[in-house]
Symmetry: C2
Subunit: 190 residues, 2 copies
């Protein structure tokens, strides 16, 4: 963990900010919460929140313990040739689930989304703002196609990892990428 | 409800069979449970279970309050020209979710599947046996492609109805069928 070397007071402050952030996101949603409001609830200066986390996106990622960084996600989707974007997205997604360290929080996230409309609303607005809208703008793509592509990725997670339905559950990553890459590519070829 | 006109004793017997069925499916899974075992636990003759429900599929549908009939599902998928099977499946699925009477139990089912590995395992085996394997056999289709098609339908449900992400959440059924029909068709064109 990145906390090694941090002084106890810093860890405490950071945890206090994250607790305040969880409250603020739950009460106001991702769109309504602000760094200023989170700082006020934590009793710290907003500059300190920026110092620890950078942007609101990153506060959200840390507060909800999300197993991915939206900035890296967007960068990976946008870099490289557009005619291979479908395969790139499927491989990126399979890689995240392949790693046991990210798979467990992903499963927990899917469960909270299914169980709680509030968590679903927070994650939806976050994904729209921090990932989908950025990709849509960069590639001049209708949001309907982007949400459709996201639905295929989410369904893959449900059937491969939650339901664990064979043969999709045990198919090698390469085979899944070969089969689903063209689907994501189709959604991106507006 | 279909219970009107049934004598109280019948309703009690039927409910007793369903309670026994839920226990047996939970303890043995969909594959392991038998009509004989369910009847034994309910203290009735197996013929009575057949009389009330027909097949084990139908006992499962009633016990888990599933909002669809697998036999009708398979029939709708298989009837009509194969070159339109993709659009047919998407429209069938959207129709089931469109009806508020089936939408609520569908949402409840998605939540239980995400929350409980036991429910996930029961539903997985049931869907494999009662729907996917039958369609795969009739159309000579690899199960990998069928589970991939199922994953797109499940993801559509998650993003359109659980996450309610726009614009996919409010897009008219026709627009969704036009966009996703070709994806399901692709999976079926092995």
């Amino acid at each position: 963990m990145a906390r090694t070397g941090r002084r106890p007071g810093q860890t405490q402050t950071r945890d206090g900010i994250l607790a305040a952030a969880r409250n603020q996101f739950a009460a106001r949603g991702y769109g309504g919460a602000t760094i200023r409001g989170i700082a006020a609830e934590a009793g710290v200066n907003p500059a300190l929140v920026h110092h620890f986390f950078g942007s609101k996106d990153q506060v959200f990622v840390a507060a909800l313990n999300l197993p991915f960084n939206p900035a890296v996600l967007v960068e990976t989707i946008l870099e490289g040739p557009r005619e291979h974007v479908g395969e790139r997205i499927v491989r990126l997604f399979l890689g995240l689930w392949h790693d046991p360290a990210t798979r467990a929080p992903f499963l927990a996230l899917l469960r909270s989304v299914a169980a709680s409309p509030e968590v679903a609303a927070q994650l939806r607005t976050f994904m729209e703002t921090a990932v989908l809208a950025r990709v849509a703008a960069a590639l001049d793509l209708p949001m309907l196609r982007l949400t459709a592509a996201a639905s295929q990725m989410m369904g893959l997670a449900m059937v491969r990892y939650v339901l664990a339905a064979e043969p999709l559950a045990s198919a090698p990553d390469d085979e899944v990428a070969d089969l689903m890459g063209p689907v994501i590519q189709y959604y991106f070829d507006a």
